[in-house]
Amino acid sequence: MAQQLGRLKESASQTAGPYVHIGLTPNFCDISGIYPEDLGQPLVNDKTKGERVAVVMRIFDGTGTPLKDVLVETWQADAEGLYNSPSETRGAADPNFQGWGRFPSNMETGEIRFETVKPGRVPFPDGRMMAPHISLWIVARGINLGLSTRMYFGDEAKANDADPVLTRLEHQNRIATLIAPRDGDTYTFDIHLQGDRETVFFDI
């Protein structure tokens, strides 16, 4: 018999529950005086380089109802396509852009609205460039394991058509679920957790 590999198992996920705000955005749910501000917002300041854009997002359940207790975290490259992370080996990212955001939905409307910069392009492992995108991680009551997806930009049709992740999807008619249309400076991204318009989620 061979030796055991001896690896540990990842801690099992559990839902973030309906009161996720207490831990992750306490000021947002009226617990003030513990942290000076909630982490992860705003994404940009006056010195951040790049084109400012707004994103409006809603997340719908299988009945078409927007989730009002959802929390989304965003992770993206800076305007030059560099990540502000120790694992980024290609160069130093914009020091005025952390690249990570955390946004609870409005408790009445379910809407999430934030400002960011449009990210630059980042390579796929084989060297081809991916289209600009924002990685998303979605947690809420009723979601047992955080859901991963990406938001691509509707005015980047040429880059999207050649994107190494989008082009490998077997069901090409589902690509549209990952692309946010642009109107002025605002991208609107509707995420459907379930049903005919179900958003593509990733096992990454």
């Binding site: 001896g6 690896r7 540990l8 198992k9 990842e10 801690s11 099992a12 996920s13 559990q14 839902t15 973030a16 309906p18 009161y19 207490i22 831990g23 992750l24 009226d30 617990i31 005086g33 513990i34 942290y35 359940d61 299988g62 109802t65 992770w75 490259a77 502000n84 992370s85 120790p86 694992s87 080996t89 290609r90 952390q98 690249g99 990570w100 980042v122 390579p123 796929f124 492992p125 060297g127 991916m130 995108h133 990685s135 991680w137 947690v139 809420a140 009551r141 009723g142 979601i143 047992n144 394991l145 955080g146 992740v165 957790l193 379930q194 179900e198 593509v200 989620f201 990733f202 096992d203």
Partner: protein, 246 residues
């Protein structure tokens, strides 16, 4: 002194049979919030293997003491005083340094400080319910709090959550991001809970149960529970322009 380079390899695949599946009808809210189509896999890129880091300058002096961080001067939260400590490791057993750990919980009576919680157990004026810390060089973390109470929730007609503390953990890559819940050794409610029961493998549940550690207590002050958190392991080989391997 350490001169380790930051790791840049891809991560081990997540074992989705170990985690709860999306659809777990015993936990009713999951029914309309679970994707029906299979999630799509692709090789990790920089978008997945990179992730945010947080410096210790974000931490306030009382961020890891829930008995005091919302209390009026000279007072403290009501309830059994405990210390929760442990390590954040990856699946290789490597301690994860400098990762942000956040936690939140109900008070000793099972009441959350949240406007959507209408449970009749009262709020504790000296208890907010959130805390955070950053692991040290070896992956250790610790915080002080009070033991949360069990509380009822509208799922079945008589469902109660076991006492638990929610944990949110960052690794070094965005795909290590994890939210889970910690339970307490010996609590009979664990094995009745529809949220715990979303986890298919009993060993995975046991991995979420903190052990009472009398050696780590502070006598005449607080008992201690040990809770290790394991995040996804990472391949060691450099990533760019090379095939992944180990």
């Amino acid at each position: 002194m350490r001169n380790d380079r930051p790791e840049t390899g891809g991560f081990f695949q997540r074992d989705r049979l170990w985690h709860p599946p999306a659809l777990t009808p015993g936990y009713k809210t999951s029914v309309v919030r679970s994707p029906q189509r299979a999630p799509i896999a692709f090789p990790h890129t920089l978008s997945e293997v990179t992730g945010p880091t947080f410096g210790r300058q974000i931490l306030g002096e009382l961020d890891n003491d829930l008995t005091l961080n919302y209390a009026r001067p000279g007072e403290s939260a009501m309830g059994p005083r405990i210390i929760v400590y442990g390590r954040v490791l990856d699946e290789r057993g490597v301690g994860m340094s400098n990762v942000l750990v956040e936690f939140w919980q109900a008070n000793a009576g099972g009441r959350y400080r949240h406007k959507k919680d209408g449970y009749l157990a009262p709020l504790d004026p000296n208890f907010g319910g959130c805390g955070r810390t950053i692991t040290d060089e070896d992956g250790n973390y610790a915080f002080r709090t009070i033991m949360p109470g069990a509380y009822p929730w509208p799922n079945g007609i008589n469902d109660w959550r076991p006492a638990h503390i929610h944990f949110s953990v960052f690794g070094h890559g965005f795909v290590q991001r994890l939210i889970t819940q910690m339970y307490f050794e010996g609590d009979p409610m664990i094995w009745q809970c529809p949220i715990v029961a979303t986890i298919p493998d009993r060993r995975a549940v046991e991995g979420l149960i903190a052990a009472l550690d009398m050696q780590a207590t502070v006598p005449m002050d607080a008992r201690a529970y040990k809770f290790d958190i394991v995040l996804r392991g990472r391949r060691s080989t450099l990533f760019e322009n090379r095939l992944e391997g180990n």
